[in-house]
Subunit: 225 residues, 2 copies
DNA sequence: TCCATGATTCGATCCTCGTCGAAGTATTTT
DNA sequence: AAAATACTTCGACGAGGATCGAATCATGGA
């Protein structure tokens, strides 16, 4: 009658303070222990103990820089798992049906890549253009896709050599469809931001598509925003 | 500073008793409140309150039959979400690396379909044979696939008319790759069991492939067990 | 070397929530 | 009708754990 493994993870995520920390880190950026303490509205001592437990369980990883300790999500698999929780997080099924379309549903970041309608659309568009081929073990980049992305300055070959998978799928809580994660997903968000095609809002994970972005995304990646 | 939605779901799964109930229901079968109380090692009153909360949140659904109330997972999306939690459930990353291959990793059921190496292999095989085509919104069945499954007595057209999606992907905690869920996944497990190609062990979710099954799976579905 | 700042550890406190027994409701059986 | 079974609601109890302040450790700058 011993508690199954999911209980431990659930308990970890179930605490409001830890959940706030995880939610804050969903944008993929690293934060110091004090920053997270403030964001969760809790004392430094409390935050420290929470962060230690999250790290120990493999949900977070930590990098010491000087006297600061920067915490971030351990991988985009963690982000993916958290997103899958949000499917049930919102409310009762009844309330979920009458839910409004929020900006977050339109376009947002998930860890370090795009999600929401835009994220799903991007994966769709790239697939229709024959740039991405979905297979069982995930998504793979076609030669055409490689050329397109290289043309936009993304160093695909460098990314491919990393330990991190080049392309992964992540189930979207708002669309209930997949969007593109992995190194490629991160590189694409990077590209869209530097080109000024999408603009991030500082406090939330929501992003907006610029007028130029709308056109460019359609022409380049076949996205119908 | 209000608690994010994931906290509520986490807290729900985080309780050992509720986790035991969910784990028990992962095989997809429905159980009465009393059965679940026994399986979780807890009184009837306690079980009842837990089941009410799980149902309210949309993780379980309930069907009243006479004086019995049968609880089961609300959908295979719940099973999919629980599997994604197990990726982090096992232990610390260090311990996870030296982990043995258990029977559960070889082949098991997840809700009402196959998972583990066999589940992943089945999806692989069907894809290689051109029976399934992976697309962004999920998997779709090709004409060739429809013919093959009908030939084995699966009433594909009937399944397609149901509200439940015909084919869905579910991330495997042991293989970290997708396996086949949805109505088709359920029908295939059914087929394999009635043909005697795999045999379920009663108490656990593990299944074993029979000698005849090994050959048949290879010939019919291109599975390399 | 000394102080300022970031982070962790420890001990004490407080509160949430899981637990059970008893009573109440619903449904089947006799 | 009455008894039996399945389940839920209610009230009270108790343990686990989240929280904080104070003390300690670690790093950087003067």
């Amino acid at each position: 009658m011993d508690a199954p493994p999911i209980a431990a993870v659930g308990k970890l995520i179930g605490d409001p303070t830890r959940a706030l920390m995880l939610a804050a880190l969903m944008d993929g950026r690293a934060r110091t222990a004090t920053e997270l303490a403030v964001e969760a509205g809790v004392g430094r001592a409390t935050a420290s103990s929470h962060l230690a437990r999250l790290t120990e369980r493999g949900l977070l990883c930590v990098a010491s820089q000087g006297r600061h300790r920067y915490f971030r999500l351990a991988s985009d698999e963690v982000a993916s798992m958290l997103e899958s929780l949000m499917v049930f997080g919102a409310a009762t099924p009844v309330a979920a049906r009458v839910r409004r379309t929020t900006p977050e549903r339109e376009a947002r970041t998930c860890y370090d890549h795009l999600a929401g309608r835009l994220g799903v659309g991007l994966l769709d568009g790239l697939q229709r253009k024959g740039c991405l081929v979905l297979s069982t073990s995930g998504v793979t980049l076609s030669t055409a896709g490689r050329d397109l992305l290289c043309h936009h300055g993304i160093e695909v070959d460098t990314l491919a050599r990393r330990r991190r998978p080049l392309a992964r799928l992540c189930l979207d809580w708002s669309e209930r469809r997949n969007h593109l994660a992995g190194g490629l997903g991160a590189a694409l968000l990077d590209l869209l931001l530097t080109r000024g095609w999408v603009r991030g809002r500082d406090c939330t994970r929501a992003v907006t598509v610029t007028r130029a972005g709308r056109r460019a995304l359609n022409v380049e990646f076949g996205v119908d925003v």
